[in-house]
């Protein structure tokens, strides 16, 4: 299967196979009116199998968010058909407004307009904890 290369835009590469839809949703790419291609299960020498997202225009991306979803991702910025920037990502120290604390005793469950914020406490195990009550994300 062949998908054309893009002239001006962004290629989100080396996405762990199966994670592209999560990234598509979390980055709000469904709101874009330009062409967005999601390639799933692409053969990769490095990963064996990977997903790729191609966005046919330049836009601001939340690097922390992408790093949180999948720190192995590479983001390529393309201008006039040429690669002008290649960014590797890492797990962000903090994530705001994405995860929701599930602890019913957490202050975020009642306080008006308090932003949800999680802090990376164990990089090796990818553990994030609520800034307020320290409950582990996803628990």
């Amino acid at each position: 299967m062949i998908i054309d290369s893009i002239q001006n835009g962004i290629v989100i590469d080396h996405i762990t196979a199966g994670k592209s839809m999560e990234l598509y949703q979390i980055l709000g790419l469904d709101q874009l009116d330009c062409t967005v291609a999601i390639l799933k299960n692409v053969t990769s020498g490095k990963l064996g199998c990977k997903d790729i997202i191609k966005i046919d225009r330049e836009m601001d991306l939340d690097w922390d968010l992408i790093g949180y979803v999948d720190p192995s991702i590479t983001v390529n910025i393309i201008r006039d058909g040429k690669l002008v920037e290649k960014r590797t990502l890492k797990l962000p120290e903090r994530i705001r407004g994405v995860l929701k604390c599930k602890n019913p005793r957490c202050i975020t469950s009642v306080e008006q307009e308090l932003p949800q914020e999680f802090v990376l406490t164990d990089r090796e195990k990818r553990v994030y904890r609520c800034r307020y009550c320290e409950t582990q994300a996803g628990k």
Binding site: R105, C106, I107, E111, C133
Partner: protein, 304 residues
């Protein structure tokens, strides 16, 4: 402006300064009787905790300051739905320092983000209670003369007991400390506490279900209550409950220098017969709680 939300915000040096100040207050109370003249402590207790609130109020009054506040949420504007942020913005206009107790975890942190004056976390749900840990630390230091090279036994409900988790995190910073974790299987110290504070620092520890068997090793015995509601079935509770009740018999093999601590209130986990044992420190601990809160108020108000 500094607040105290979590015990780990204090360095070992700052804890030592507080311990030294508290010691000086114990030795020379008159010299501190007017240090807070003209200062106001607001005690915002969104849930009742008479013991902690009175300790803070007694601390401020002993420093010559005044206190105002409320002792339960229904007598505050929270009952009308006001946010913690708005309550604290208002109260910080009326006071110089705030002690806050709240059933929601993280509420004092939110308060500190909006307050014009220092905020002390006086307990937030099952999360943090740093002045209890400071109290425990002052008791250990006053009684043992050091934090280093101690075998600290923690007994009872190690799973849900926040005072246990905080004490483990605080004591894990001192060299030569060893932990003995004594609890029923159902109430063992959570894995993340063990990994974060004990294993990550290669601190030696042992786990036991038998208090009597490990008693001779201990320098400190920190008792907590095994509560009926923590068990899935009544049989297990009935089988285990007496194993974690401290009696004079269980103290037979203990060192003379052992010190027994308890965050209180006690229900039945320490027999009243133990109270007269010179190793029992839990009522002295209450007294130390006031002195360390006095030292903390002085520190946060930047008064010498």
């Amino acid at each position: 402006m500094k607040s105290l939300i979590d015990i780990l915000e204090l360095s070992e040096q700052e804890i030592m300064e507080l311990v030294n100040t508290a010691g000086d207050i114990i030795d020379h109370p008159a010299e501190y009787a007017h240090k807070c003249d003209g200062k106001i402590l607001a005690t915002l207790f969104f849930e009742p905790s008479t013991r902690t609130r009175l300790s803070f109020e007694s601390a401020m009054l002993s420093l010559g300051g005044k206190v105002l506040g409320f002792s339960e949420a229904k007598s505050s504007s929270a009952a009308k739905g006001e946010s913690v942020a708005d309550t604290v913005r208002t109260v910080s206009c009326y006071s110089d320092i705030i002690a806050m107790r709240h059933p929601k975890e993280g509420a004092p942190l939110v308060a500190s983000m909006h307050s014009l004056v220092p905020v002390i976390n006086a307990g937030d749900g099952g999360h943090n209670h740093p002045t209890q840990t400071l109290t425990d630390l002052l008791t250990i230091h006053r009684e043992m003369g050091r934090f280093e090279n101690l075998t600290v036994g923690l007994c009872g409900d190690l799973k849900f007991g926040r005072t246990v988790h905080s004490l483990v995190s605080a004591m894990s910073r001192y060299p030569g400390v060893r932990f003995v974790l004594i609890s029923p299987e159902e109430l063992k110290l959570p894995r993340y506490v063990k990994e974060q504070y004990i294993k990550a620092k290669n601190i030696p520890y042992t786990q036991s279900t038998d208090l009597e068997a490990v008693m001779p090793e201990l320098d400190i015995l920190y008792m907590t209550r095994v509560q009926r509601e923590r068990f899935f079935n009544e049989e297990d509770y009935l089988r285990l409950k007496d194993s974690y009740i401290l009696t004079p018999d269980k103290l037979r093999g203990a060192k003379e220098s052992l010190r027994i601590l308890h965050p209180l209130p006690r229900v039945n986990e320490i027999s009243v017969a133990v109270d007269s044992d010179p190793r029992a420190c839990y009522f002295k601990q209450v007294q130390y709680g006031k002195y360390i809160r006095m030292a903390l108020i002085l520190k946060l108000l930047e008064l010498k």
